[in-house]
Symmetry: C2
Subunit: 348 residues, 2 copies
């Protein structure tokens, strides 16, 4: 049974059956021309849209449908986290190939609604259409933030430290591991075998690629405590994130390669593949961690945040007055600096 | 030059160059992880998302890029109009084939931003990705409405009149005319030649298909004057609209075929093709008119609305206590009734 055997109303009903009861502020929900909501009192609204496209952001041959749904929402929640916003609602727009099995549709929706429920986010509406090509999941989310607490990319100043939440590199390694397990999908390189690695590290990297957790909690705490001067999420990798914070803030950034919190399983994988773990971890995307800047005098606030943020925070560099993005490798005294590698880009 | 020759930042800059200056309420606009906006004071928010997919909602072989951009926004504004909402902001999510010419990209964006500017709607953010398949334009819009003024599909009662704005059938005829002009695209039927028709009628139908105008103004007036008991837009045709209003309101609806405001050019076209103009006009979509219900005692208010709505309004039927959707053909005394034809459906 595929989605083309069901009516649009039946597909919508399958989505609705996975949603928790509607909150009071939802005045008109799914089923009318548009949703009507009561705005959150005394707060600003934070809005973003992001899509995941089959063949670009995921490969259905090794990405379970639940992970596709999870990712489609996670990329958006990660943007809210980077602004310090509390998630509130989502609209889903799905373009479905006629051949999509109903079970896969249910799992996809289930992956998305499970994350939505966990983060107390309400699906208020959406749109279903068929796709003559790839599966496309487009999600719009809205969150709220208090006035003057929104975190932007543009507030870092020379002397601010650069910090990263959690670990990096695991999602990129996880994707390579999934590909390596399917030799028919491999292009050049990445011919390592995952079974030469530690099983726990492999499993962690793959799970990280498939089910990355947006850093909502620490984003909220950074905003509420005004502990960060700039913030952004790492959807396209740390190199890309650092570059954008530097551009928006008008500073340079010097990273210290030795301090990067590279996932140990990912490091082992990249080493075994003959790749440079630092370059791979800097340029690999999909970790959905946050990079943020914080002033030395905010250290007390930052400690309070990290004590309750639920994720480690590592200082990985510093903002410099002179423009430029550099990575220092080796000990501080004897090390060399190299230009920052590029992150992932969809276009040129 | 195609979009794959440009960076994402360059493509975003091309969009931004077509946008008017940002309003005061936009606190963080395009270029950060998310947009931050000040909610409209004392009003409810109305949110909807809709996408147009190449090969499903438009055919690039005879739809100019500007019309694709126009349509992607118009379908959403039409949903806001049906709720009686004032448009406020939009988020754009574009999935672009690598072969899309930059000039076509600019025209697409131009078609969308021209309509946005005309309706004083602000583009606050979005997302660009490449597509390995069709061009997909996904637009989310937010508008505002005063408490207790939102129009839903669910308020019609037996005895209420059913009204339609403007004319119907022109967009469906326009699409057939565009296809007929390209014999290589024709499937079965629709082999009429447009040049047998009156030139003005043909031009009007084609323009209507390509650049349908969402009925924002009359939607707002119906809401403000509480002149309608239910309302919905005709994206999937009048038959579909009437069916959904009837379902949501728990009434039956009897339409009068002789009163349907079928565009005269469309009627001539359907006649020449040997098709039944009533069935075609009822089931054809893309007109983006509104269908609404209004109570006899609201007639005074309705007259005030139609005097300033900028579009004719026609009474086409009545809500009945017994369920069922019927169309009466011929004179009231001697006519026959037939079941309502189905509207367009993406799925089964």
């Amino acid at each position: 049974v595929t989605v083309s055997d069901l009516t649009e109303a039946e597909l919508v009903a399958r989505i609705q059956s996975r949603l928790p009861p509607a909150p009071d502020w939802l005045i008109v929900g799914i089923g009318d021309d548009a949703a009507v909501v009561e705005p959150a009192r005394g707060r600003l609204e934070v809005l973003t849209v992001d899509s995941v496209v089959e063949g670009v952001h995921f490969d259905r041959r090794f990405t379970p449908p639940g992970a596709i749904g999870h990712r489609a929402l996670a990329v958006n929640l990660s943007d809210l986290a980077a602004m310090g916003a509390q998630p509130r609602l989502a609209l889903l727009s799905l373009a479905l190939p006629a051949t999509l099995a109903c079970g896969d549709f249910d799992e996809l929706v289930g992956g998305l609604t499970a994350l939505a429920t966990r983060e107390r986010l309400t699906v208020v509406g959406g749109n279903l259409t068929r796709s003559p090509g790839p599966l496309v999941v487009d999600v719009t989310v809205a969150g709220t933030v208090k006035r003057r607490q929104a975190l932007t990319r543009g507030g870092a100043r020379p002397g601010d430290g650069i910090f990263v939440t959690g670990t990096i590199g695991a999602a990129a390694a996880g994707l390579q591991m999934l590909r390596a397990a399917r030799p028919e999908l491999q292009g050049n390189g990445q011919r390592c075998a995952a079974d030469e690695q530690d099983a726990a590290g492999v499993q962690r990297c793959i799970h990280r690629y498939l089910y990355a957790q947006p850093r909502i909690r620490i984003g909220l705490l950074l905003a509420r405590n005004r502990a960060a001067t700039a913030c952004m999420d790492l959807s396209d990798g740390l190199a890309d994130g650092v570059r954008r914070v530097a551009e928006a803030s008008g500073v340079g950034i010097l990273l210290d390669a030795d301090r990067l919190p590279i996932d140990p399983g990912a490091r082992r994988w990249f080493d075994a593949c003959g790749a440079d773990p630092v370059v791979e971890a800097l340029s690999g995307g999909d970790d959905y961690e946050l990079v943020f800047a914080s002033r030395p005098k905010l250290l007390g606030r930052l400690r309070a945040v990290t004590a309750h943020g639920g994720v480690p925070v590592t200082r990985v560099g510093v903002c410099t007055p002179e423009p430029g993005l550099l990575v220092r490798r080796g000990r501080e005294s004897a090390g060399t600096t190299i230009p920052l590698p590029l992150g992932f880009s969809h276009f040129r």
